[in-house]
């Protein structure tokens, strides 16, 4: 019988059949290594048996499963902060574009263009907010509708309100 095939722990705990026990006993007569190992195991067994049994508290089970559930919830909730950076990025894009627009508007030296754009902005803000979807689209469309064709030298836009820019 090979040493690796012998379950010494089961032998010590009387968990082997009669036939297996005999085989192990015979092996132990000839194998010094296994004898040493069984001595160590029996010492360990004695030490463990000397320890007092600890009784779990009455609500141990409840506390244990509560902690397991909390740990699982923490793992699941790990991504709940993700919307905040996404919101910050989107807000940055919106503010950047609006600031760009305001800066260009304030630095525009063409008073007619400036006045028309400001008038459109005031009209839109009066009826709603600049950030309301429909009003924002309306504001942009009206600005572009009234002004876009005016940048061309040959402007055929009949609705253009800027004097001197029409092709005559």
């Amino acid at each position: 019988m090979e040493c690796s095939k012998i379950n010494l722990s089961a032998y010590l705990d009387n968990e082997l059949s009669q036939e297996e026990k005999q085989k192990v006993s015979e092996h132990l007569k000839n194998c010094k290594n296994c004898v040493e190992e069984i001595k160590v195991l029996s010492k360990l067994n004695n030490l463990v048996n000397k320890q007092k049994e600890i009784e779990p508290s009455s609500n141990f089970n409840m506390k244990f499963w509560e902690r397991v559930r909390k740990d699982e919830d923490k793992k699941k909730a790990g991504l709940f902060w993700l919307p905040l950076p996404a919101t910050a990025i989107l807000l940055f894009i919106i503010l950047f574009q609006l600031t760009n627009f305001s800066y260009a508007l304030l630095n525009n030296k063409d008073f007619e263009v400036k006045n028309i754009v400001l008038q459109r902005v005031k009209e839109t803000v009066f009826c709603s907010s600049i950030s309301n979807i429909s009003c924002l689209i309306n504001l942009c469309d009206r600005c572009i509708h009234n002004l876009c064709k005016c940048k061309e030298i040959e402007c055929n836009c009949k609705q253009c309100k800027i004097k001197g820019r029409h092709k005559k």
């Binding site: 909390k70 919830d73 923490k74 909730a77 709940f80 902060w81 919307p83 905040l84 996404a86 919101t87 989107l90 807000l91 894009i93 919106i94 574009q97 609006l98 760009n100 627009f101 260009a104 508007l105 525009n108 030296k109 063409d110 263009v113 754009v117 709603s128 907010s129 950030s131 309301n132 979807i133 924002l136 689209i137 942009c140 600005c143 572009i144 002004l147 876009c148 005016c150 940048k151």
Partner: protein, 83 residues
């Protein structure tokens, strides 16, 4: 404020950001309140769903506004550069 209330506030702000004046700040607040509601570990499943919907509405609104502003910005800036 209880976190279940935060979830409901997040949902209401998320909806109102689409239909009321001044949408952007409401959308931002709906996301913030929704996240604060989700922070509570013992939050019930029902209020978690409400918070998720509030956060989603806020982010969808912000995405729409960001897309509109980005789409129109070059044209408007081009117009304002007329000399």
């Amino acid at each position: 404020m209880k976190n279940s209330k935060l979830a409901v506030v997040s949902l209401i702000l998320g909806i109102f950001s689409f239909i009321h004046l001044l949408g952007v700040e409401k959308a931002v607040l709906s996301v913030v309140f929704g996240v604060l509601a989700l922070k509570e570990i013992n939050q019930t499943q029902k209020f978690k769903k409400i918070a998720y919907v509030g956060i989603s509405l806020g982010i969808i609104y912000l995405i729409i506004i960001a897309v509109i502003v980005t789409f129109y910005s070059p044209q408007l800036l081009n117009i304002l550069k007329i000399k």
